[in-house]
């Protein structure tokens, strides 16, 4: 038998080992290719109001994807190399030169790699269609999904993967160069749990890691108290949590496990053997990986939550801040468009609301002076008479406040049944706050962003009379608007827009623009985040496969000694809970604090989006843990 036929035979025997690697490749190619196809889809680009946003978004997304994929493929390759270690060492033992082995690896890799590339592209094309439909749905665009197969996208994908192939070759070359024969033969046996010298340093670092994370969390929660150094603080929080996570994995976890193990003083049971000691055995190489996974999953979960929050809040935000279907700057404009609508037989109502602005203070308004925004001027309210609005009931000296922008929520608290003093220079008027409304009744360019307040007609007249008319502020003002009877529609907007008489604000247009913008951002963040989630789950899974192979001998001994399959699996379940649970838990905690600190800037609805994203993560991680456990089960079953 010639050497070549040995290699060939060996290759086919190893095909099972390759499945994992092939899967990783096909998956990555499909992911990237579908993403590129989508970014080049003309249909979507035409439909979008801002295709520039789209291309920027896709470029940022694809750069992130490339980084994720390259890391993933190289990681899979390294696991794969380690698994074939013994075999490669044997080839060297029987006298093959390294160069020859390297050449053999090139040929093998090339066959697998480019095979996977083709399958991946085909698969990516199918996935692309599906994803495109999701994207269009998210952006609320009605467009039938066509099939554009772009050669350019194929070339782009192929180029990227040829580049990654070069990286892999370099990786293989370095691996072969670096490891000596003896190391190759003994690789999996050596323990990394060299923490026997549990010096004061380990204890110190162990505590430090946890302290860093906790102080990072604390800072993020109270960040808003130090507005002047916000950017600085943000980097501080990032540094503390990321470095803290690494130190936690490197020292704290090892430290805690070691304490636990020490306290057992050798009296370990089978659960400890399969979880505790097995995790510690590979702790050193795990620390970096687990940090990477926790931090990046926290970042992607955080970004997904934030983008989902802004997407989810679009309707509420617009509903709360834009009271009417169309808003105009001048009365004349409103009348012009009203006539236009009449000509086209579109039923509508004109809305005309006069308002005056008053500064307010009093027991009912508690402003958190420490809070951000530097709120040193008094809060102003846009006063509106009850007779001009529907749905609000006020009598006598009562007042209702509504349309409070959500960013004010975080530092102003309104207390019901307390007094509010309305002030305009020397004139003061006391009223009582009876309830809070939800939505705005005046457009923000009329109110300059202040909340609105409804008072009875008598009070309003009094206020108007005593107002200090200020030229600069253009008081009193009036809101001019049109409400379409029934549903407003895109076609009505088009009709008015094409007329081009003057500028106006359209609620439906604002809504569409924001839906498209936030929908696109959410899709890209979601896509990249999901890609990351899947790859990190795969990496953890691959790692488990590798470890199960290494530990096969252990299961064999344990079973011969009389430990049953179930007892062994129980220990392995604990191991799975820990290996998947700890990064997940830290990722979740990081996300929670990040979203809590910055979420309100993106929208008012924080919990539902954040919990949804977290739920998806938890589910997928559980699935990966379960698949790993099933793999273990198979290995244990076969081990005797």
């Amino acid at each position: 038998m010639s050497l070549n036929s040995v290699i060939l035979k060996n290759f086919f025997k190893n095909l099972k080992n390759y499945t994992l690697y092939i899967f990783a490749l096909v998956f990555s190619v499909a992911l990237y290719f579908s993403f590129v196809l989508m970014s080049q889809d003309d249909g979507v680009a035409e439909e979008l109001t801002s295709s520039e946003l789209m291309s920027t978004g896709f470029i940022v997304g694809s750069v992130l994807l490339i980084v994720i994929i390259a890391t993933f493929v190289m990681f899979a390759n390294s696991i794969f190399l380690k698994r074939r270690n013994r075999e490669l060492a044997l080839f060297q033992l029987i006298g093959m030169t390294r160069e020859k082995i390297f050449r053999m690896l090139i040929v093998e890799n090339a066959v697998i790699y480019f095979g996977s590339l083709i399958i991946g592209i085909a698969l990516g094309f199918l996935v692309y269609r599906m994803l495109l439909m999701v994207l269009l749905r998210l952006m609320q665009i009605d467009l039938s999904v066509g099939m554009t197969f772009s050669i350019e996208a194929v070339i782009q994908t192929a180029l990227l993967f040829i580049f990654i192939f070069a990286l892999l070759l370099a990786q293989n070359y370095i691996f072969l160069k670096k490891t000596s024969l003896i190391k190759m033969l003994k690789l999996e046996q050596s323990s990394e749990a060299s923490y026997r010298g549990m010096g004061a340093v380990t204890v110190l670092f162990g505590t430090l890691g946890l302290v860093m994370i906790i102080s990072g969390y604390w800072l993020s929660a109270s960040m808003m108290n130090f507005t002047n150094a916000l950017i600085f603080l943000m980097f501080g929080v990032l540094f503390l949590t990321i470095a803290g996570t690494y130190i936690t994995f490197k020292f704290s976890v090892a430290f805690l496990l070691n304490m636990l193990r020490k306290s057992k003083n050798g009296h370990v049971n089978v659960n400890d053997v399969l979880s505790l000691t097995s995790i510690m055995f590979k702790m050193k190489s795990n620390a970096f990986l687990l940090t990477l996974i926790s931090v990046v999953s926290a970042i992607s979960m955080g970004l997904m939550s934030l983008s989902y929050i802004s997407y989810y809040s679009v309707e509420d935000t617009i509903e709360a801040s834009v009271p009417n279907d169309y808003t105009f700057y001048e009365e004349e404009d409103m009348e012009y468009y009203s006539d236009l609508l009449n000509e086209n037989d579109i039923e509508h109502e004109t809305v005309n609301i006069p308002t005056v602005s008053y500064d307010v203070e009093g027991d009912a308004i508690a402003i958190d002076a420490e809070a951000p925004g530097g709120f040193d001027t008094a809060l102003a309210l846009s006063m509106v008479s009850e007779e001009h609005v529907d749905g609000f009931e006020v009598e006598g000296d009562e007042i209702i406040i509504t349309g409070v922008p959500y960013f004010l929520d975080s530092y102003i608290e309104f207390k019901l049944n307390e007094t509010i003093t309305l002030i305009s220079d020397d004139y003061e008027r006391d009223v009582e706050l009876v309830s809070m409304g939800e939505n705005a009744i005046l457009s923000s360019f009329v109110t300059y962003g202040s909340p609105q307040a409804i008072v009875s007609n008598e009070v309003y007249e009094e206020l108007e009379e005593n107002h200090n008319y200020d030229e600069e502020m253009n008081q009193p003002r009036e809101g001019f608007a049109i409400d379409i009877t029934g549903e407003d529609s895109e076609s009505i907007y088009q009709l008015m827009n094409e007329d081009n008489y003057s500028q106006f604000e359209s609620k439906i247009n604002q809504y569409n623009m924001q839906m498209q913008g936030t929908g696109l951002v959410m899709f890209i963040v979601g896509f990249v985040g999901f890609a990351f989630l899947l790859t990190s789950g795969c990496i953890l899974y691959f790692k488990q496969i590798g470890e199960s192979e290494d530990e096969k001998g252990s299961y064999n001994i344990l079973r011969k000694l009389g430990f049953t399959e179930n007892e062994i699996l129980k220990g392995l379940t604990i191991k799975m809970v820990v290996t998947f649970g700890i990064p997940l838990l830290i990722g979740l905690l990081h996300t929670y604090f990040a979203v809590n600190a910055g979420g309100f800037l993106f929208g008012n609805e924080i919990w539902t989006p954040m919990l949804t994203v977290m739920g998806v993560y938890i589910t997928l991680y559980s699935i990966f843990a379960l698949i790993s456990l099933m793999y273990y089960k198979k290995v244990v079953k076969r081990s005797i």
């Binding site: 046996q189 323990s191 370990v268 049971n269 053997v273 000691t277 064999n556 000694l561 009389g562 430990f563």
Partner: protein, 252 residues
């Protein structure tokens, strides 16, 4: 009688390439005996040990340990039985890489509700006897092959099993380390009156035991007892029998 086997047959494989490895073996072992099994490579020694120790199932025949027929037991009961009443030293992969020497040795005790102090005491006695007490914090990859085998001997002894099964415990050792280990085994056997059944290729190793059973082609070929002879004489007779069998001992 602690162990009795009647008509043990064992075959591997399905119909077409079915090979009968054990073709009907009868044997009985008394409490406190130290028995060796010898035979050419591939003659079925490991297979016999595996079926006697319930790791593998017989194709037909019965095995009684203290009068109980273990061939009739369910897998779970068998595992329970191995855990409680048997001790093992294997031909290869003896220790768990992830555990220290001490943890490896104490493993069989983990299922018992014994006081920690008592466990410590027992560990100390056994480990000192086998001269590995000072290595207790090391990992298997950090100690020598002989030390590894002594560690697995300690593990086989720690829970004072009814029978210890050892598959070529000296296979990977040089003659000095081998006789060192065997002397230890012999001492433990004398002192605690434990029963040992050992597979070996090596006539010297076998000469430490009280009885040698020779296997050939899946059957018992002959049996030698030490009796009152010196170890030297006994060794010579073992060598003789082995050369009649085909000189395998020298070859492998």
């Amino acid at each position: 009688m602690i162990l009795e086997a009647k008509g043990i047959k064992k075959s591997y494989g399905k119909r077409v390439n079915r090979t009968e490895v054990l073709k009907g073996i009868d044997l009985s072992i008394e409490q406190g005996e130290f028995v060796s099994i010898m035979g050419a490579s591939g003659s079925g020694k490991t297979t016999l040990l595996n079926v006697l120790s319930s790791i593998d199932r017989v194709t037909s025949g019965h095995i009684f340990i203290e009068g109980q027929d273990i061939t009739a037991l369910k897998d779970k009961k068998l595992a329970e039985f191995r855990k409680n009443d048997l001790g093992f030293m294997f031909q290869e992969y003896n220790l768990l890489n992830t555990l220290t020497v001490k943890e490896n040795i104490l493993l069989p005790l983990s299922i018992r509700s014994m006081k920690k102090a008592e466990v410590e005491k027992q560990f100390k006695v056994v480990a000192e006897e086998l001269e590995i007490y000072d290595l207790k914090g090391k990992y298997p990859s950090e100690i020598s092959g002989g030390q590894q085998q002594r560690t697995s001997a300690a593990r086989a002894y720690i829970h004072q099993p009814k029978i210890i099964f050892a598959d070529e415990p000296t296979g990977a050792l040089d003659s000095k380390a081998a006789s060192n280990l065997l002397r230890k085994l012999q001492q433990l056997n004398d002192k605690s009156n434990s029963t040992i059944m050992m597979v070996t290729h090596d006539a010297t190793a076998a000469s430490y035991s009280g009885r040698v059973i020779f296997l050939k082609d899946g059957l018992i070929y002959s049996t030698l007892r030490k009796g009152d002879r010196s170890q030297e004489e006994y060794y010579k007779e073992i060598m003789n029998t082995q050369s009649v069998l085909g000189g395998v001992g020298v070859e492998s």
